[in-house]
């Protein structure tokens, strides 16, 4: 049964709506305009929380993957899979909003100078290989294990990559995004904090949403088998892990 818990899907969704709407209200009605970039800087409250949640999501996937390898329980593989999935979608949003911001700030749609953008692109490309990797391995059990190894390796890669790219760029170009981080007035910090909290909750909501959907599909398959019914042709995806019923919890 769908117990009403503090972290239920419904509560998560409501909380993320409240915080995100609150954050956007703060962005446009409360936070002051940036001294250097002016109104364009407002994209910061969208772009950076998305990026932080995507990267955090990749790390979370690595944690799930470690639990999967240690316990062999497919629940954790499902959680890792969905975490990476949602983080990639967030990553796409990061790249697009970053590109828009670059265009508005410097007139170009992409800049190789900005270390965070470049390092994020590399991480995105790496995680994009998660799907071909799963597709390329037929045996389900092995597929899950190798995917977990990949998730752990890639999770360790994220901070290293960020450090390396940052080191490289700081030599050539001074940090032009300093205005976005250093010297932010209190109103901006508050808005930023609310935005991050809202995005994190949105991330958690979407992950939970997907896990519940997968869990429902798995139960339907179980019922089908119990009724000796034939499975419809397209009900088994080759790569998405099937989710035991309790994966939607916790």
């Amino acid at each position: 049964m769908f117990r009403v818990r503090l972290l239920s899907l419904r509560n998560l969704a409501l909380a993320s709506v409240a915080l995100l709407v609150g954050a956007f209200a703060l962005v446009f009605f409360y936070a002051p305009n940036d001294a250097d970039q002016g109104f364009v800087q407002k994209i910061f409250y969208l772009h950076v929380p998305l990026a932080l949640c995507a990267l955090g999501g990749f790390i979370a996937a690595a944690v799930h993957a470690i639990r999967h390898l240690r316990s062999g329980d497919p629940v954790h593989d499902a959680r890792a899979y969905v975490s990476i999935h949602i983080s990639i979608i967030f990553g796409l949003a990061v790249l697009v909003t970053g590109s828009i911001w670059a265009r508005a700030s410097w007139g170009k749609w992409w800049v190789w100078d900005e270390p965070t953008l470049v390092s994020f692109l590399i991480v995105f490309l790496l995680y994009a290989t998660y799907y071909p990797l799963r597709f390329a391995i037929e045996d389900r059990d092995r597929q899950a294990r190798y995917a977990s190894v990949f998730a752990i390796t890639a999770g360790a890669f994220v901070p290293l990559n960020f450090i390396a790219v940052r080191m490289a760029e700081s030599l050539v170009h001074p940090r032009t995004f300093a205005t976005a981080e250093g010297g932010m007035p209190g109103e901006m910090w508050l808005t930023f904090a609310v935005a991050i909290a809202g995005m994190a909750l949105l991330w958690a909501t979407l992950v939970r949403f997907e896990l519940v959907a997968k869990s429902a599909r798995a139960r339907i398959s179980k019922v089908r088998r119990a009724l000796d019914a034939e499975a419809t042709g397209a009900s088994r995806s080759r790569i998405a892990p099937t989710v035991p019923s309790r994966a939607g919890a916790g």
Binding site: G38, A93, W101, A226, L227
Partner: protein
């Protein structure tokens, strides 16, 4: 309360937030399609369960 400047800067900011909105709505649409499919499959299963000859109805007891 800043008035929304509809010059160059405003358009880009709006575009960025619209991209975010679009992605969220696309996700909602995909999940809606999945939900519809789940509903359809459940309907099929319900019919199967109801249409069973009485001898086999004890198989309706499905582990929850």
């Amino acid at each position: 309360m800043p008035a929304l400047p509809l010059d160059e800067a405003g358009k880009y900011v709006v575009a960025a937030y619209l991209v975010f909105l679009a992605l969220v709505l696309i996700y909602v649409a995909i999940m809606a399609a999945r939900l519809a499919r789940i509903d359809r499959e459940l309907g099929e299963l319900a019919e199967l369960a109801e249409g069973r000859p009485p001898a086999e109805t004890d198989r309706e007891e499905v582990p929850a």
